[in-house]
Amino acid sequence: MSKNNLYLLLLVFAFASCKKQEIGPQCPTCVEATIEIKYNDVLIGCEGNFGWGNASLSLYDPLENSVTNSVFQNVNGYALGDVLQSMTEYNGKLFVVVNNSGKIEILDTTNYQKTATITGLTSPRYFCGINSSKAYVSDLYSNQIAILDLSSNTLSGNIVTNGWTEEMLLVNNKVFVCRPDTNFVLQINATTDVIEDTIVVAKGASSIVLDNNNKLWVLSSGGINEEQGELNQIDPSTNTIIQTMVFSDINASPSNLKVAPNGTDLYFLNDGVSQLSINDNSLPTSSIINQNGALFYGIGISPTNDIYVSDAIDFVQAGIVYRYDSTAALVDQFSVGIIPQGFWFK
């Protein structure tokens, strides 16, 4: 063997012997020495790609306009999981539903440290707290709503729904549940866990909010170009529809209904951001914020009435969050994790 070959061999073994420390996905820019927790933090839930395990939380400070990505990983030392679906605050804890991981990470809202993990869910979507020891979790595939025991953070039972359940809302011991693959909103008795009523809306009911007159608003997309979408105002005491506003374009796919902290302004996404008042009798004819070629994926209204809108761009790159003030003027924009879709305001 000539000298050259020997060198080559040595080179190869040199390669082989340099051991690395990194295993799995890495994000060097996400790692910050300390995460500063402020009173007015905005958490952005980033869904991540299905099957890639890259769901994450980004933290935004609206005073300093600064962003920290991968907050959950930073604080807790492991990745959040696969497909973040929703974040719900209840009893001073933040319930982060991680859909394809079939789990809920419960975070302390003062430092984002995990206090518990609820596992064993099928395809969880949204969390709805009933009381200090009980909560419901809607599900895409299990055909059931899971009942959680919040004292032990375990599954304690279920309510058979025969299909996909989405956003839920508790009013006067009644839980109203969206059933997106039908045109129903279910009403469950929060004490007996029995489905007591079904309210017929349009197909694809997926988001539900409560206004300051104690009336419910349900937004239905109309399915995939199947029917016209609708916005329905419902009286939760009688389970009757007070008024219905129909989207004239069958191809429209309105989603993400939110209510401002004042309880009188409603916002939703429909090829841009639309806004209306709970006293309006018709749908707005134009958007207050145009998409301009972007694809708005999530929306949140802050306690100071700022409008946060996320753009997932091509779904494989860092998404962008646009922050507008209440007059829809752009205040800031910043890069977050992959597929930003939900907001939680401290």
Binding site: L8, T122, V316
Partner: protein, 629 residues
């Protein structure tokens, strides 16, 4: 399954009837083996005698013996290939000249191609993929089988037992005469793949055992070859794979008991007719693919069934010894039915390929070719290619080559017809590729360097539209600039000690040049899952009856988001094989040990898909050989 077998028999009978048209001719034989040989100007990596190699499957073979990037999800999972920065759908695979990529997906899962179905493989990089067909914007891989008419009887039985329940059994019998050959191969592969891994998704990264990752594959290969005289050769080639694979979840996601079955039948009838100045080659093929994917928890039961009928006629004429013209006509239909479609869809394709080649005895050669395809009655983009090669030194050791081609990749049936969001208005992806290479080849050493440049326009990507429904769109333009280096050296120290060294390195800068997506921050960034650096090294040492093979690959980090903020770290697993041969006159046996992931590296190729640490395999191979040497 029953229907597949019936079809199998009908096709075999049809092809056998062709045998009767064979006629006697006494002209001198022209020595042509492949239908269209890659011109001298093209870049090709050849891997011959595959069955004797100590690799598990095609993806293993390619990732170890070449510096080509294989995206492997691990045992039981998908395994796809990326050449020169292009996507996995931009590598076309051919089995004896017949395109075998899935018509619905446009790409192929390498784990459905067991090694025992293949004798030789040729990787056609860049422009050289044009000779096979369209669509290979990165390149193409030819998988070929052939007969040795000197063979009388060759039989071997192989048993492999390894970690994680690996149990592989293979029996192959090749027998025949100077005129007739039959090749039969049967195999069964079992593995549980329940290896331990570090669960990085949990606090404290506990060690867990992989679940739901069992693989059961059965396969059969039967080939008949008939050579009545020097001018005619007939063959019927077929293989059938029945595969069951459990699909493990990513780290941190509970198993949903997902699994996939594939039943794939490939049948081909061939007639080769050699004359003094011409060569005819007719091929008729049938490929059937039944795939069933089941996820009980999500109530998904997806069925995909595709049937492809393909015919190809090739004619080559030699004007003089060194000047030739090749013409090839192809016609075929793909019929697909899928749970994702609202109805059955099919696609017709016809193509004409013409290539002119001249080799001068002054040391240069050149080739000009074009391909015109018609898809469902519509003209596809015209594909021209040009190449030249020149021997710089008179001993023909040092040469320089150049080639350039245009190419296209038609949208797959899923892209066009997926219900509800397929896009029948999709444009074909357009490629341009060029390369320049220098080779230094003599008996002792082989060195090649080839810088290349390629551009892929109208790159198809699935994106959610205004209504939130995902749909394929012609999104971006991608530029790939790279260089490939390879060095191979054989050293015969003595009759007892032989050393063979092979190493390769690929560099590619694959960037998103422009995009129709608003606010796209990935412009100028490296594409996801395309490593800039891939290195491989193979050392084989034969000493008396012992053989050692050491294999090292180093794959650089890959970005996993288009804005290049997150990445998968580099990985550098190595393998070691030790074999011992017991040789009798007509009988022989090989026993050996294979250590995979020798240094016990903890790594993942695809994010959150763990791969096994160090693992072992022992093998026994008994050969019976009655061939006259």
């Amino acid at each position: 399954m029953k229907r597949s077998w019936e079809k199998y028999i009908v096709v075999i009978l049809c092809i056998l009837s062709l045998f009767s048209v064979a006629q006697e001719d006494t002209l001198k034989q022209v020595n042509v083996t492949a239908t269209i040989t890659p011109a001298d100007s093209y870049k090709v990596i050849s891997l011959t005698n595959i069955e004797s190699r100590t690799t598990e499957n095609l993806s293993d073979l390619l990732s170890k013996e070449t510096p080509i990037y294989i995206k492997s999800y691990g045992a039981g999972g998908l395994s796809t290939i990326s050449i020169r920065g292009a996507g996995s759908g931009h590598t076309q695979l051919y089995w004896n000249g017949i395109a075998i990529n899935s018509p619905t997906l446009g790409q192929i899962d390498l784990s459905t191609l067991p090694i025992s179905f293949i004798d030789d493989a040729e990787v056609h990089l860049g422009a050289s993929s044009i000779i096979d067909g369209s669509g290979g914007l990165g390149g193409a891989i030819q998988l070929n089988t052939s007969a040795d008419y000197k063979n009388k009887l060759k039989a071997n039985f192989t048993k492999e037992l390894g970690s994680f329940g690996i149990d592989k059994t293979q029996l192959s019998i090749n027998l025949g005469s100077e005129k007739f050959q039959s090749k039969t191969s049967l195999f069964r592969n079992l593995s549980l793949n329940n290896f331990e891994y570090k669960d990085i998704s949990q606090e404290g990264s506990p060690i867990l055992q992989r679940e739901n990752s069992e693989v059961i594959q059965h396969g059969l290969k039967q080939e008949f070859y008939y050579k009545p005289n020097l001018h005619h050769q007939f063959s019927v080639k077929s293989n059938y794979l029945d595969s069951y694979r459990q699909i493990p979840s990513i780290i941190g996601v509970q198993s949903n008991g997902e699994y996939q079955t594939d039943k794939i039948l490939r049948v081909l009838g061939e007639w080769k007719y050699y004359k003094a100045k011409s060569f005819h080659h007719l091929r008729l093929a049938f490929i059937s693919n039944d795939q069933n994917y089941i996820d009980t928890s999500a109530s998904i039961n997806s069925l995909i069934k595709t049937d492809s009928y393909k015919g190809s006629y090739n004619y080559r004429y030699f004007f003089k010894h060194l000047i030739s013209l090749t013409a090839r006509v192809d016609a075929g239909i793909d019929i697909a039915n899928s749970t994702g479609f609202s109805e059955k869809h099919s696609q017709n394709r016809q193509s004409l390929f013409v290539q002119f080649e001249q080799e001068s005895n002054r040391g240069y050669s050149y080739n000009i070719a074009f391909r015109q395809e018609v898809i469902d009655g519509k003209l596809a983009p015209f594909v021209p290619t040009i190449g030249a090669m020149y021997y710089i030194t008179s001993n023909r050791e040092l040469s320089i080559n150049f080639n350039a081609a245009r190419n296209f990749k038609a949208p797959s049936l899923n892209d066009l017809y997926w219900n509800p969001s397929g896009n029948i208005d999709l444009q074909p992806e357009l490629g341009f590729t060029s390369e320049m290479g220098i080779s230094y080849i003599n008996k002792k050493i082989e060195f090649k360097i080839s810088p290349y440049y390629s551009l892929i326009d109208n790159w198809i990507q699935w994106l959610p539209g205004e209504t939130g429904i995902w749909s394929p769109i012609n999104v971006k333009q991608v530029e790939n600039k790279g260089v490939e280096l390879s060095l191979e050296k054989s050293i015969k120290v003595s009759n007892k000690l032989k050393i063979h060294l092979k190493t390769g390195y690929n560099y590619v800068n694959s960037i998103n040049k422009s995009s129709i997506v608003d606010g796209d921050n990935s412009i100028g960034k490296q594409l996801i899952y395309v490593p800039k650096h891939v290195f491989n090294f193979v050392a084989k040492v034969d000493w008396k009856r012992l053989s050692f093979a050491y294999n090292q690959t180093v794959t650089g980090k890959v970005f996993i988001d288009a804005t290049n903020t997150t990445y998968m770290p580099y990985y550098a697993p190595a393998d070691l094989n030790i074999g011992y041969s017991l040789k009798g006159k007509q009988k022989s046996a090989d026993i050996g040990l294979k250590v995979s992931n020798l240094y016990g590296e903890d790594y993942q190729i695809m994010a959150n898909r763990p791969l096994p640490g160090r693992w072992f395999l022992v093998f026994l191979k008994i050969n019976l050989n009655a061939t006259d040497e």
